[in-house]
Symmetry: D4
Subunit: 232 residues, 8 copies
């Protein structure tokens, strides 16, 4: 059995769900990822890579690295690097409308990688999200200062680790859909993100929904499902 | 300290978040709930009660029971019973537009109570959701037969216990926002709903978000946030 | 072996730790509790009973019930019922000084039983705590309105279940010692209080310390240790 | 105590259980593994090594590496490399009958290592399994396209991580025995494979049985027990 | 929505998987179960009920109880009570062949209810299993005395709680497929069955597969999948 | 978005809570930490860094390392290195009063790093704590010998891993506030510190409060809240 | 299958292990227990029943109750009630030697039931243990006062719930074998006894071994193994 | 504070408990260990080091390595290397009596390191234990062949990972005290040893006691407590 038999991309996903297929790279060999890129290349498609760390990125070789738009903080890559412009990209007038429809808000600088995964995934799909960082509720005034910006978004993604109180406070202050993304940041009982996850799920604020720990990409997809339903 | 000092309703929640306050009754005494209803009555407001089991309902006394629209399966009550018509209720033309905007889908009949909590909460807010039950993926054809109905909804709430594979399969087939509600139905490793919750969070389908176990009310609120953003 | 051999009270605890012995009644038989009360009676001492539910209270018999100052919400009892005045009770001038030195703040009405256990334990020791209820952070304004009252206390006990965001927000706003008491209130991932406990431990607010779940009595003791050190 | 005293192979296992002994190499020193190979060599036996990573493989030295049929993806090795032909290997006519009796199905390419451990273990025992990869249920059509191939197998091994919905959907579609193998692939709540394991155990499809996480070898043994009982 | 809309039986399951639909009654209302029985009655079908405790059984009313073959120890019922003879039941010659093809072995008398669920489910499908009880490995001789009986079965179901060492010892002694069923029997770390489950999954005996805790019905289905594949 | 947009220090924290902001460095990039130091430098402020391991320290470059007072055992750094004298530092007479107000007590030498984090954080705030190490209760005499020293402190921080019996024994012997800090030291069930944490929370000694695992900094902040309240 | 087929007592256990068989009654029906007593009666043997609560005891009927020596606190019963004298009972001179060879020490009165299970099991085997109660380490002097009594025992059983610090302190003070029995007494993180169990396992005192939670009977058996080895 | 202040050895432990102090090296710095060795040297004492891995051993420097009797498999060292002969060592006649009083039995070769820690700790105290390896119960005959050797020991230490069925089977066959040591060997649900630990605690064999995971040293100490009590 050779590698091309082992890779079976879901090219019809976009038609069914409105979302392009993305490839989760953690645990995959360079050979598997290269095979995927070649299949995409052959079909003149495009694809989003997530959880591509720098060692794996280097391992893909010069040829493929040149065609990737890679962001090391979030570990995301667009393939081809013109993917962003070619397929799903709106024309300029639409582009303005897509400015700031999603706000990606992170409680601390340690949550930046996950927040960036969300905003990069949104960019790949033609959105221009607003990013707001370091507004954890232990210093409430920072959040309050930005509340007007946040209220102008149509969907809010709230990224937080530790005790993850940010999404609760936020969802109590605004009316837009709020998607909580717990992060694995922290130590002791916070390590791995289970506490952040549970705190978001147990939130006493109404209508907060949650993704898996560190799943910035998933939150972006959920936001896109909402926006596209609204665009219909 | 008397009871009226202990109850401090959040009457401005609607202005901030677009959602009325609801009262989670489990663990509250009859005296506390009655105090709440009296405060609401005085302000000529309305309120949604959740997790009000039959014993508690009986304990509220004849006077209040007469003014409640109570559903025993879901343990929800509208107060006053005319609440549904009076406040948030759309006129007839709007009412038609609100027909079927949310689909509430339950994997098995054991999930019916949670699904009903979601649909009752939606009704309270003026929506008329579609309910589809017993479409678990161990018998895929049942889900496939209803796929067109589901695709016509703007938001889908998928309620499932045990291994909770339904939301994953569903989110792979449709483009609307999908909100997963794990239920505590089951035995062995499924007991309490942690497995269903984790399976939804770990879903390989993109853009599925999740609420706390058995939180049908929360899913309804999340759906309302989406619809109202879309209505803006 | 008869029961009096099985009960060995720690009558010197007060000298060592500044705190009277208290008896945790859950899991003890009526015979054991009565033996304890008789030993205390013989020594003309006094004692605080905690986790004494109504069934157990009734089981103690008329003779002892008459001499108990019992509060059913918190399940606490003072023995003898004059205990409060006799031993540790300050004279009037001191009494005024002890007014409001501790603020006991509960996020929701469901947390009232645990908050009351804390304030009753403080009362037993001669303090007159301030109680503030229903100020959860999903409706921030309620907390903000009471901030001046809270800031005038020397120690703050913050009682919260679910995602327990209240102590974090509070500890970010005030400079007094804050003792968090997680409660077992809630369902799904919140059930039993582990999520509330972990959220408090993982708090991003500095200098918050925590007790066991539902341990209002322990929080009161910690507050008393602080006040007495300060009184030295 | 020298090493040969510490190794006590179970050479009679085949007679009792129909399965050759295999050696789980993780956590064993090179000296221990070499001692095992020498004992096998002396008895002119053969043995299957599992969880032999590349570093350990190199550490066995040239002499033994030459006599091993090693597969790095799965970390399995046959000793001697002619083991496959010599002992349990059927003649040609039987060989054809053993073609495709087991289908090894993996939800994603990240599950390939575990699936390969299963198919290598089957090959070692004379079976020629069918391998099908990348048929996760988030893109159902991929599984449906291969259903006829799967139905022609006598035993199905379904390998999946994350939410592991594949075995449930599969067991609802076919009548053959289905053995689920959860994998440790994933992040957040999926990390380590506990969620995949629990989802399989809680499956609402009837008659699915499960092995330990990542235990491809164990699934192969279970399949062999079934086939040999059927061959009797 | 009335109850008949909520129940959607999977009548084609038998064609797809070879197994009749069964109804897990825990958590279902009497109304739901009665609706199911009526649908089955109308189609002149038959159905197996599991987890039907005595209180629920009584609640079904005289009319349905008369038509049920109910076993209180296992909480199973055949509907109609002639179900056993009518549908899947072999003629006499086949019946003899189906004698003792499955051995259901329980470590202790406390495991009897789960073992009985397995054997009743097998009986419903026309098998006549052998039951062997009280052969836990703390007294090995009891198991050894019955080894010949066990070896004559084609499939073995091993039911055990606590440390669940029985399936491991058994799978090391015989060559037939062994399906482990952990039970929730026990206290302390054994309570709920997680220890028994994990011990079976971690078994050092090769080729043991496992079901959910207390899932005697599932083990029976797995055994039937094996036997029917073998009968093809 | 450049890095200076991502960092938003809470410079008003001191006014609100009496505690300077500190920066938890684990998981932050060198670029983020340098940005923070530069913002502090610009404002002529000072800051405490925690969880700064040696590799990260080296990565900050010569320029910043020169201005840091770094302690490798605890991973803490004062910035600027004159911070200690400049801001919060009392004059000499106050300094004497601040000698020994806090006792930091560690059960074993393996707990030294966490104990040092606490004492360094106290030093940064102008306290001169007493450190007592290796007084675990398996050799009670060691603790008893130091009891007078401990009793002269106003607040006690008790640091312990494994079974963490030290804080319980200690809190039973003294009247000052006791803050328990569980450590992640240990193996098997002790690994990661959950057992130590739970043992402290479940302590039968009254009035012990607890921080997150390994949170020496948090314990110091709690002690400072108490001392400053007492100083008012 | 009738009940006598389901019960298979291990009558040879005494020869193999030196310990009589005992019957764990929780989860067994009255019919099963009666069958056991009848088998024992027929063989003129004797047996120890554990976890026989009062409801079950009553359910055995007058005939068997008369022949049982039943202790409700521990839920243990000797059958026949003369069992104690008849079989294993030493003559008077031996009896004196068996006085106080085991000390059963309980941290609190809430642990009395488990401690009693241990001492009753020892009595059944001819030992006369010393019982010491209410010597938890939060009031160290109580333990210290009894240290000489404890040191005269050959084996010590230490029963404790909550943080279970007693066995650690004890094992640091004496040289005899110490067997820890965690109890399920407590609330919050202590509930169910997992914290007590883990604290004992993680003890920094050397040579403490542990039984399952609430397993007083098991601790007695371990003590008997030690004493009988020593008696050889 | 310099390092000699941080180290406070418990030199009187031997008098109290009959066991020398041992030093658990994991997590300690080389400086701490060297300080300990120097204190021991000054007092002409001796000490046992455990969990000293090879990297740490090398880090102690030539001077100390020469005086250590180091075993890399178990990570144990005797200091001084003549410790074994000098202090606790019996004369020749006693030595023979101490031959084989303890049997250390390991289920698999992967458990060898933990078993060796136990036997090295026993050797340090003057015992000469018997070691038996690779007698897991999946191949029962291996254990049965060695049963006579095992029965001649006065105390048995049973070391096992995975499902840890060995101690249960063993304790059902012999009358001596059996101390179970779970190991962290394994993968999936067995990883880290929690399953092995729980299986031992839940054992249906009577009188088995257990140590922490991988705690060979603790098991040796427990065995020594028993032997010394018996020697009195």
């Amino acid at each position: 059995m050779n590698i091309s038999d082992e890779v079976l991309l879901d090219f019809s996903r976009k038609e069914r769900t409105g979302l392009d297929e993305a490839v989760y790279c953690a645990g995959k060999s360079a050979a598997h990822i290269i095979e995927i890129l070649e299949q995409v290349s052959t079909r003149e498609g495009r694809i989003l890579l997530t959880r591509l760390n720098e060692e794996m990125y280097v391992g893909l070789g010069e040829k493929f690295r040149q065609r990737l738009d890679y962001d090391p903080l979030s570990g995301t890559a667009f393939f081809p690097d013109t993917a962003f412009e070619s397929c799903d990209q709106p024309d300029q007038s639409t582009s303005q409308q897509r400015q700031g429809r999603v706000a990606v808000i992170a409680a601390g600088t340690s949550d930046a990688a996950v927040a960036r995964e969300a905003s990069r995934s949104l960019s790949y799909a033609g959105e221009t999200p607003v990013e707001i960082t370091d507004v954890g509720v232990a210093g409430l005034w920072r959040l309050m200062e930005r509340l007007d910006d946040i209220r102008s978004a149509q969907v809010v993604i709230a990224v937080a680790g530790m005790d993850a109180a940010l999404p609760t406070v936020l969802a109590g202050l605004i009316s837009a859909p709020v998607i909580g993304v717990p992060t694995s940041v922290g130590y002791g009982v916070a390590e791995g993100g289970q506490t952040a996850l549970n705190a978001m799920l147990a939130s006493c604020a109404s209508g907060l929904t949650v993704t898996n720990i560190d799943n910035g990409y998933g939150a972006a997809c959920a936001a896109l499902r909402i926006l596209r339903m609204s665009d219909r």
